[in-house]
């Protein structure tokens, strides 16, 4: 049943038409439509008013479990922003803990990025031999100095004690604080606990701090010297909390209790954890792209792509006549489907990626050219049109597949999908490899299946000589 359905070219074309319209809808950017037109008198002179916004649709599926807007994701080189490669200094970390240290480094940096309020950011880890690295990409961030300071500082978190020179006189005001040598690097982690002690404050959230061995020593000295005084915890020169020391802490496990709501406690714990990088980092590579450079390049590239597309279509039509028109239709469908896939997957579009897309338009007609040349040969050999057309498709397939496999293999190496450390990984290059590979797969579909069925339906009655 199903195979019979697909044997009818008209049915296949219906599906293709459906896919194309669907892809076209996905491709459509948000466009307002405002029609306000007065019909001429002889048509009744009525006013036609219509106003709506089409395009820019969102994905909404599985009762809202899958939700996304369908905008093209722009890479850093287009959107502008900063990308930083940092190396973690693991010299003080034992071999078995390095992987964990890298993971917690990533977590801390992610939290700091969130604290900065940067929405489009990615933080990745990478290992190359004995090098442990973090790659941070912040789209749309141009105040790089501040962002990098916040992200890369080891100890933004500081513990301060009351200034003995300026003792507080009024308990309603916080005293002056002076810095100590205890900072975020000494803090292992902060967690939320619940008070189990007396009945009054039972089950109230409290904050538990765990220091590392160095921190334990320092904290012991501080608490011993500041009994019944305040020890303030500062993040970025802003005071987070200033609890009073109730007893000397010898084991590096401190508990801060008070009238915390659960929300407050959670926020504090996040801030405390974000305040400590487990290991120091050093910036190895930094790339900042201003907001205009990428946009200009995109506009120019799209213009260039349009000019190229017209040239290719003109060439195909001039050289192959009506077959060329069908190939051009297939090429436009190729463009629609490809763009729609970029939006659905989504593909992060970089400038080289855009170049890959434009290049793939030129390659997409390759299958058609192979096939058309075969058809010409078959006709020259004296075979009837119908058989020549089918043979042309059948015999070209091996060549098309073989020839494209080499490009797919290269794209694989360039994309490095498994993050093999011995291969280069660069965002823009990956963008190129991805659009190139996608282009080949989609063009196999449009160049072979779509063109074939277009020809079966529209090319039956044509004279042999014209091809």
């Amino acid at each position: 049943m199903i195979s019979n359905f697909f044997k009818k070219p008209k049915n296949v074309l219906m599906i293709v038409l459906f896919i194309s319209v669907f892809a076209g809808m996905i491709d459509l950017p948000k466009t307002p439509i405002n029609i306000d037109y007065k019909l001429p008198e002889f048509l009744g002179g009525k006013n036609i008013k219509y106003s709506n916004i089409i395009g820019g649709y969102n994905i909404y599926a599985f009762n809202g479990r899958v939700q996304r807007n369908l905008e093209i994701k722009k890479g850093l080189d287009i959107a502008g922003g900063v990308s930083v490669l940092m190396e973690a200094d693991m010299s003080q970390v034992s071999a078995t803990d390095k992987a964990t240290a890298l993971d917690s480094l990533k977590n801390v940096i992610e939290r700091r990025v969130n604290l900065l309020g940067i929405s489009e950011a990615t933080v990745q880890t990478s290992r190359f031999g004995e090098n442990y690295r973090i790659i941070v990409e912040l789209a749309g961030v141009f105040d790089t100095g501040k962002a990098l300071d916040t992200i890369g500082q080891v100890a933004q978190l500081e513990f301060r004690i009351e200034d003995p020179e300026n003792p507080s006189t009024d308990i309603n005001f916080l005293p002056q604080f002076i810095p100590t040598d205890l900072n975020g690097a000494d803090l292992l982690r902060a967690t939320i606990g619940f008070n189990q002690g007396d009945t009054v404050s039972n089950n109230e959230p409290q904050i538990e701090l765990q220091f590392n061995s160095e921190g334990t020593k320092k904290f012991k000295e501080i608490t011993e010297a500041n009994l019944n005084k305040r020890v303030a915890i500062y993040l970025d020169d802003n005071i987070l909390i200033a609890p009073v020391v109730q007893s000397a802490i010898l084991d590096g496990k401190a508990v801060i209790s008070g009238q915390f709501t659960l929300e407050d406690a959670k926020l504090l714990v996040t801030q405390l954890n974000a305040g400590a990088l487990p290991v120091p980092v050093k910036i190895l590579e930094q790339r900042t792209v201003g907001p205009t450079l990428g946009q200009e390049s995109v506009q120019k590239s799209i213009y260039a792509g349009g000019v190229g597309l017209l040239l290719v279509m003109a060439f195909m039509i001039l050289y192959y006549g009506r077959l060329g028109i069908l190939a051009s239709i297939a090429l436009i469908i190729y463009g629609l489907i490809t763009l729609a896939l970029y939006k659905i997957i989504p593909v992060v579009l970089t400038l080289p990626g855009l170049a890959g897309f434009i290049l793939s338009i030129g390659m997409a007609v390759d299958a058609n050219i192979l096939i058309f040349e075969r058809i010409k040969e078959e006709l020259r050999a004296g075979r009837p049109v119908g058989i020549a057309l089918e043979n042309g498709f059948g015999r070209s397939w091996d060549s098309i597949r073989d020839a494209n496999l080499a490009t797919i293999m290269t794209a694989f190496i360039l994309f490095n999908p498994f993050d093999w450390p011995f291969l280069p990984t660069s965002g823009p290059v990956r963008g190129f490899a991805l659009t190139l590979a996608l282009g080949i797969f989609i063009s196999l579909f449009t160049g072979v299946i779509i063109t074939r069925n277009l020809i079966r339906v529209f090319y039956k009655k044509v004279k042999v000589k014209n091809i």
């Binding site: 590579e285 120019k300 792509g305 190229g308 050289y319 080289p352 290049l359 192979l370």
Partner: protein
């Protein structure tokens, strides 16, 4: 059928001239590696002020402690200047920019890239691995595909021929237009590798097909027939790619201009070599085999 193989010594002569020119340019001028490979920093600023000169910019930047400026380049038709320096950090960059702002109006940072020196070496190694791996993969693929060594050998020789000429072209561009070789160039080289065998496979497929039907045919005729049959396809297909890449090279953004040019050269040479280098090579290897047996 056109007797293409009659002129095979001419093709070899053209190829030799191209390859030798490429080798000479590579050895004499070398490639200009970008900071991706050497480490260093690049600052692109836009300064719309009439009194700007590259020398002054270089001087202002050099005045700052531990900043060495290696070159200042004005980008044609824009107010943008590209400074190349040693590896500097965000703070040094801020100092340089504020120095410019003190002297000129309308200073805008367009782009800043800085790469540590160790990273450059590392990328060089990884790039080598990538090129090696791609060649090996393609070699195995061609060998498996044709189950006959001489096809693989001819295809791979043509592929190296293309790669050498592309690299040579960039040695020349580097010398005359200060074009640098960066990660994107390597990407273009790898893509050229695959495009090169792409066309060659189509020609060789035809040779194999003919010989499969009638194995005793004269290789000279078989290859001539294959080339005749595939030439218009090869040229037409490349034409469409060349249209796209030419448009991109001439009209596209600055960032990917030389990337497009590299791909363009690779495509043109790849098309030429599959017909005029790989096919004659295959003929020579086939004849030699017949003489020996």
């Amino acid at each position: 059928m056109i007797d293409f193989m009659k002129f095979k010594s001419t093709y070899f002569f053209i190829s030799s001239v191209l390859v030798l020119t490429a080798l000479a340019s590579i050895f004499v001028w070398g490639l200009k590696p970008a900071i991706d490979f050497t480490g260093g920093a690049l600052i692109e600023v836009s300064i719309s002020d009439e009194n700007v000169s590259s020398d002054d910019l270089s001087q202002y930047a050099t005045n700052i402690e531990s900043v060495d400026v290696s070159s200042v380049q004005k980008i044609q038709d824009t107010n943008n200047y590209v400074l190349r320096t040693n590896t500097i950090d965000e703070n040094k960059k801020a100092e340089i920019l504020s120095e410019f702002k003190n002297n000129y109006s309308n200073v805008v940072e367009v782009r800043f890239e800085t790469v540590g020196p160790t990273l450059g070496r590392e990328l060089l190694i990884k790039t080598g691995v990538a090129i090696f791996l791609a060649s090996i993969l393609i070699l195995f693929y061609v060998a498996r595909q044709f189950k006959d060594r001489i096809y693989g050998v001819s295809a791979i020789l043509a592929m190296f021929h293309d790669t050498l000429i592309l690299i040579g072209a960039f040695a020349i561009f580097g010398h005359f237009y200060e074009v640098e070789v960066d990660t994107l160039f390597v990407t273009a080289v790898l893509t050229t590798l695959s495009f090169s065998v792409h066309d060659t496979i189509v020609v060789f497929d035809r040779v194999r097909e003919s010989l499969h039907d009638r194995p005793n045919l004269n290789p000279y005729d078989v290859i001539n027939k294959a080339v005749t049959e595939t030439l218009s396809r090869s040229i037409n297909n490349s034409m469409t790619i060349i249209f796209m890449l030419t448009a991109l090279s001439l009209l596209g953004g600055v960032t990917i201009r030389w990337f497009s040019v590299a791909l363009l050269i690779g495509t043109v040479i790849g098309t030429y070599s599959s017909t005029f280098t790989a096919a004659p090579l295959l003929l020579i290897l086939m004849r030699r085999r017949r003489q020996n047996s």
